[in-house]
Symmetry: C2
Subunit: 117 residues, 2 copies
DNA sequence: CGAATATTTAACCATCTGGTTAACTAATAG
DNA sequence: CTATTAGTTAACCAGATGGTTAAATATTCG
């Protein structure tokens, strides 16, 4: 059966913010330090730092310290579980256009006609 | 290029809550009315009603009214885009074990100059 | 040493979230 | 008409989120 893990909670929550998705995209192109990752984002360094911590707690990145520089490394493993979850609905979005057509045709269909409840 | 649509924001945010993922799972097994969907969840009807509105605004379900009964129907189309986004990171979680091994081996790699702390 | 750099922590703020209970609207049943 | 049922709306609350600025902590540079 489907599990409602807090891992999945944290993964999806982390992905819900566009800044964090952008950071992940940058990391996918190579490991970066905080200042580097912060530059393209119109916000303060502490704000980016917070986003990085969210991603880190979600397990989506690993941090290594070289002196005062924190080097971030993408870790996409949690995305695997997320992808699996979403994929369970594959057949539903595949058939969605058919379903919409069907839906529109049945415009006047009754609920559970006759004896409700 | 990657887009940071608010569609994706809403989709991932909707999926970040376990109650909502559970509701989607129930909907995947057939359309249900609000009271029906609420029953297995240890919370009030208004709470479930709010979750349904979140899912609706994320485009993950459609609502039809038959008299006083609101019938919910899963619409998984938004999940398609989410799946595509996540899939872009497929190669990263595939290679993650190798990467971790590599990471652990390089444990003593120098920072940028030949100076370790 | 003292100055500069990289980053975090602290304190604060507005808004969002997920829940509650109570009251309301609307439809059906008797 | 009245009572019941389905569901939403309103008001409220605690805690999370996403941002800010200012101060603190390391680390490296000269």
């Amino acid at each position: 059966m489907v599990k409602y893990s807090s891992t999945l909670n944290r993964t999806f929550a982390a992905l819900a913010d566009p800044t964090r998705r952008r950071i992940l995209a940058h990391l996918a192109r190579g490991d970066k330090c905080v200042t580097h990752l912060a530059k393209p984002h119109a916000m303060s360094l502490p704000a980016v730092s917070k986003h990085l911590r969210v991603l880190e707690k979600a397990g989506l990145l690993r941090r290594r310290r070289y002196g005062r520089v924190h080097e971030m490394r993408l870790d996409a493993k949690p995305l695997r579980q997320a992808a699996q979850w979403v994929e369970e609905y594959h057949k539903f979005w595949q058939g969605s256009l058919d379903r919409l057509a069907e839906y529109l045709e049945k415009e006047n269909r009754p609920p559970e006609k006759g004896k409700t409840k």
